[in-house]
Each structure stands twice: as structure tokens, then as C-alpha cells.
């Protein structure tokens, strides 16, 4: 079976990729071969007939007919003014659904928005900017914003909507558990917790915060950035990461790692240990690490002391060899570009997405928040 293998041998790892990029330059026979073979899976369905589109209703001040009769128009305006005044006099609270915010649905029990209790029997509710949603031990709710994503709010949770719009979409999770599924572009949806900022990088994840402000994120799709004051962790699908107030994100790990690995990592991350105990815990992590635990070891490079870094480098090199352009010396001095290149080689995701977020947004808001 010809899979093109014969065309791939003895090639330099870095070559002009103009043809791969935009078909300019000298045609690459290998790429052309792959295009031919894979082209059979290409989209070739004709444009279907779509159902009728119901346009969004737009309010017009004067219906056409009223424009023809100024007196009638004046009367209509007068009536509208009376209705408006009546509304303003008798209303006690703003109508929730007129606020910019997240739609609240799938309500179970009696969650509260601010001081107002909501329930499934009532119509649609909305969590507006600056408002707080709180569930008790029997309550749940779902939040949805069409341009951003969906959040399921578990019992005993309190969150606040901080901002929306074209910039960062930001909420604060004070305590409890949320399950997010985000379809806004990577880097735009941010959750503040008391001990770290969670940045969506195109993903679905669960975020928990306990009463002490400690947190845990578990990613089920895509990946998540966890950050506090420049201390950052990246959590791809299947991985988890804990965070603690004043410490920030720990080292992420895959939850199917050995119990010994996870226990040693937890001690290394958060316990007030002696240098020797930290070295011992790091040694356990290195010994127990499997290939996919390269995730953890890559993060450890910047978290161990100089003496241990070479041990981490050696183990990580065996599990996931660095690209040719990455040197041991560069990694040992924590060269950011080389660390990023090695990360990209691990196959989780492209770290440039995160670097772009850092350039665009990091520092624009205060990480974390007061409880």
C-alpha cells in the first residue's frame, strides 16, 4: 500500500514550506501527492436550500402609515409617553431580560440573581453585568450567551458577571462549581477565582473553588490557561490543575497518572516542605512519569531549582525529545522561545495562542479578586 512513505525519507526537518503555505514557490511533490490522495474526502456537496430566514424585528419610531397622518402620529407619541411614564412609576426593578448579559435557563430549585429569587416557573431571566448569581444546596442553573458559550452552575455556587462585549468576557467564580463550554475565540473568556485566572483557549472545562479560595480546573476539550501574577499553567484535555490562594496554579497533570505521582506532585506544589523534601518529591514525579506526563515535566522545568532542572531536562528529553533547535543550555537557562518550541512539540496545542493572549490582555485586569 502506497501511503507516500517513500517520499518522506531523508528530508530535512526544516525546508521552504511556501508550497505548503500558499502553493507558491516550487511545487512540493510530496504535498501534491497527499493533496491528490486526501482530496477524495473534500467537501463537494452543492449548496442546499435553506429554510426561510426570519429577520430580527427592528423597532421603528413611526410606522409608515402614521407618517402620513401627523395628528395620529402625535397622538401615538402621546400614548407612548403615557405608557412609558406608567411603566416607570410602577416598575420596581428593571426587567431582567432587557439587560446585556447571560440568559439564565434550566433553573432547578431557587437560585438568586442579586437578592431576587428565580425559579423555573418564571419566564426567562438574565444575569446582567455587575450582577451575582448564587445557588444554594438544592439549586442549579445554566447560563448561555450566544457569542460566548454555555455555563452550567452547580449547587452551592456564587459567581458574578464582570464584563461582556467585544473585549474580554469575564466572570468571577467566588465559590462552587461551574462547567463551561465556550465557543468564543480562544483567549476571550476569562474566569477570575480567588487564587488564579482561568483563560479559555478553545475548550470545555470544569472549574471548582472551595470556601478557602483554593481551586481546581479539569479540562475535557481543548485547553485552558491558568495564571496568577505571571505564574502560569496550561491544562490540555484530560488534565487537571489545582490552585491555591497566594501561591497560584500548581503543576498540571493527567489524572490517570499513578497515585504516587499525583501525591508527590501535590506536596511539591503546595506543601511548605524543606529543600530536601521537595527534591525527594520531584524525584518521585520523575521516576513515575510516563510519556504523556511530559505535560507535567515541561512545567516543572521552571519550578525546580537549578540543580534539579538538569534532572527534569534529562527525563523529559527521554520521554519527549526536544526539537533540533532547542538546546540543553537554553532550557537550563529557561529560554522562553526554546521552552515554547518544546511545548509545541509535545502535541498539546500551539502556545502562540497563549502568548498572543498575554500580549493582548494579561495585566489589563487585576488577576484574582477579593472574596
Amino acid at each position: 500500500m502506497d501511503t507516500g512513505n517513500n517520499r518522506t525519507e531523508n528530508r530535512p526537518s526544516i525546508k521552504s514550506d511556501d508550497y505548503l503555505w500558499d502553493r507558491s514557490g516550487e511545487p512540493d511533490p510530496e504535498i501534491q501527492h497527499l493533496e491528490t490522495l486526501l482530496g477524495r474526502f473534500r467537501h463537494d456537496s452543492p449548496t442546499p436550500v435553506f429554510p426561510e430566514i426570519v429577520p430580527e424585528r427592528r423597532w421603528t419610531f413611526f410606522p409608515r402609515r402614521l407618517r402620513l397622518f401627523p395628528a395620529l402620529a402625535t397622538a401615538a407619541v402621546g400614548m407612548a409617553a403615557i405608557v412609558a411614564v406608567t411603566f416607570l412609576v410602577y416598575r420596581t426593578k428593571p426587567t431582567p431580560t432587557t439587560l446585556a448579559g447571560w440568559d439564565v435557563s434550566d433553573v432547578q430549585g431557587t437560585p438568586r440573581i442579586g437578592q431576587k429569587t428565580i425559579s423555573a416557573k418564571e419566564g426567562a431571566s438574565r444575569l446582567g453585568i455587575g450582577q451575582m448569581l448564587e445557588t444554594d444546596r438544592q439549586s442549579r442553573a445554566s447560563l448561555r450567551a450566544d457569542d460566548i458559550g454555555q455555563i452550567q452552575v452547580d449547587p452551592s455556587t456564587r459567581l458574578r458577571l464582570l464584563s461582556m462585549g467585544s473585549g474580554l468576557k469575564r466572570i468571577a467564580l467566588d465559590r462552587g462549581t461551574i462547567h463551561t463550554y465556550i465557543w468564543a475565540p480562544p483567549g476571550q473568556f476569562v474566569v477570575d477565582t480567588p487564587s488564579a485566572v482561568t483563560v479559555d483557549l478553545g475548550c470545555a472545562y470544569t472549574l471548582q473553588v472551595d470556601d478557602s479560595g483554593a481551586g481546581m480546573v479539569r479540562t475535557s476539550m481543548g485547553w485552558v490557561g491558568f495564571e496568577l501574577n505571571g505564574h502560569e499553567s496550561f491544562i490540555p484535555a484530560g488534565a487537571a490543575c489545582a490552585t491555591r490562594p497566594k501561591v497560584g496554579p500548581g503543576t498540571p497533570y493527567f489524572e490517570d497518572a499513578s497515585a504516587e505521582f499525583r501525591a508527590a506532585l501535590a506536596r511539591f506544589n503546595f506543601e511548605d516542605s524543606t529543600a530536601q523534601q521537595r527534591a525527594d518529591d520531584a524525584a518521585i514525579v520523575l521516576r513515575e512519569a510516563r510519556q504523556r506526563d511530559a505535560l507535567t515535566l515541561w512545567h516543572l522545568l521552571a519550578r525546580v531549582d537549578d540543580g534539579q532542572r538538569v534532572l527534569v531536562y534529562n527525563r523529559l528529553s527521554k520521554l519527549a525529545p526536544p526539537p533540533a533547535t532547542v538546546t540543553k543550555e537554553g532550557i537550563l537557562r529557561l529560554d522562553q522561545a526554546m521552552l515554547d518550541l518544546w511545548w509545541n512539540e509535545l502535541g498539546f496545542d500551539d502556545i502562540s495562542v497563549w502568548r498572543h493572549w498575554e500580549r493582548s490582555w494579561a495585566g489589563s485586569e487585576t488577576p484574582g479578586h477579593e472574596k
Binding site: 503555505w21 473534500r42 450566544d146 484530560g238 515554547d340 509545541n344 502562540s352
Partner: protein
């Protein structure tokens, strides 16, 4: 996303920036016009959007679901987009928004059809069966698609858009809202990994992709 900073990322990976075909002003304004017209109920304009974005949606889905189900899901994505079009505030973000819907639909597909249970550590074979090559007869095309499907999610999506759908790098960036730098790096690294897998033969798969 802004496109600043791409050059440094490219140079860091040993890539030359090379010639770039940015979407023309006409293309951008046409797209925004079509989105606005479709929002006002113009089905022909929505048809134009389909023509422009169907390959991108198809590629995004093909990177995540079996090939036999992709065409149906493409239609689902556009129907969903049609219903939600009034909620799209930035017409210029239509492509990124549509790509997000496609990924969401693929996620829902797996949530409906795959029992949620932890994968064994060495689950590559199972993952590949769940992937795009499912339902395709054996042959070199299927073998290569299977190799592509064993790449990481980011690399395989970009590579499928380039090698299967025939889009150029600038087109991929323009349609999906990704930066040129990210697309170029994904293509370069994806090809490197694909070459390694094809050289190693069909039994060699990894690194493992996570179940989505």
C-alpha cells in the same frame, strides 16, 4: 485576533514569513455584506456564505467526526448558524463564530454517541476508529487520513483544511479567524509529524489525542 507578533513566532520555528495573500478588502466587505443581508432574511446571501465557508466547516468537522457523518453535520452547522445569525454582533467574526459552532456540533455528536468513560492509557486505536476515517474503505487515502487523525487536534484540523479541503494557509486564517502565524506553525509542525508517522508505518501512532 490580531495578527501582530506572528513574524517572531515563525522565525522562532525556523519558518520564513514568505508571501502572504491577505483577504482582499473586497472579500472582507463582501462577507460582511452577505452576513448583514442574510440577517435581514436574504437567503441568497446566506447561500453565498455557505459557498465561501462550507469547506472550512467540512474540514473542522472532518477533524473530529467520522467521514460518513460529516456532510449531514455540515448542514446542521449552517442551519444552526442561520437560526443564531441575529445574535452575531461582529459580522467580521463570522468565520470564527461559524468554526466555533462546528466544533460545538462535533462535541455534541460525540456526547450523544460515545459513552463517557475514561480511556485506557493506550487508546489510540480506539480514538482513530472514532475519528474521521471511520466508515471509509481501506486504501492509501484512508491510511493517510488515519495518520492525520492521530495528530494533535490543532495540527490535524489545520492540516485537513490544507490537504483535504485544498485551502491555502491565508485562506485558513481568513476563514477560521486564526492568526497567520498559528496556521503556518500548525501546518509546518503537522507536516513534520505526519511525515514521521508515515515513515514509521501504519502501526505507529501517537502522541495520543485526547477524546473530545
Amino acid at each position: 485576533m490580531a495578527r501582530s507578533g506572528d513574524r517572531g513566532e515563525l522565525l522562532a520555528t525556523g519558518l520564513r514569513p514568505g508571501p502572504v495573500r491577505e483577504p482582499s478588502a473586497l472579500e472582507i466587505s463582501e462577507g460582511a455584506t452577505w452576513v448583514a443581508a442574510a440577517r435581514d432574511g436574504d437567503r441568497a446571501a446566506f447561500g453565498q456564505l455557505y459557498e465561501r465557508y462550507a469547506r472550512m466547516v467540512h474540514g473542522v468537522l472532518l477533524a473530529k467526526v467520522p467521514v460518513g457523518d460529516v456532510d449531514d453535520l455540515v448542514q446542521d452547522v449552517f442551519i444552526l448558524a442561520l437560526r443564531r445569525l441575529s445574535t452575531l454582533r461582529e459580522t467580521a467574526s463570522f468565520g470564527a463564530w461559524l468554526a466555533a459552532i462546528a466544533r460545538n456540533v462535533a462535541h455534541d455528536y460525540h456526547r450523544r454517541s460515545v459513552p463517557e468513560e475514561p480511556l485506557p492509557d493506550d487508546a489510540s486505536d480506539q480514538e482513530i476508529q472514532c475519528g474521521a476515517s471511520g466508515g471509509v474503505q481501506d486504501g492509501p487515502s484512508a491510511a493517510i487520513l488515519e495518520a492525520v487523525m492521530s495528530l494533535s487536534e490543532t495540527h490535524r484540523e489545520t492540516l485537513i483544511l490544507r490537504l483535504v479541503e485544498g485551502m491555502t494557509g491565508p485562506e485558513i486564517a481568513g476563514r477560521t479567524g486564526m492568526t497567520h502565524g498559528s496556521v503556518r506553525v500548525n501546518l509546518h509542525r503537522g507536516m513534520e509529524q505526519l511525515r514521521a508517522k508515515l515513515s514509521a508505518g501504519p502501526s505507529r501512532v501517537g502522541p495520543k489525542q485526547e477524546k473530545s
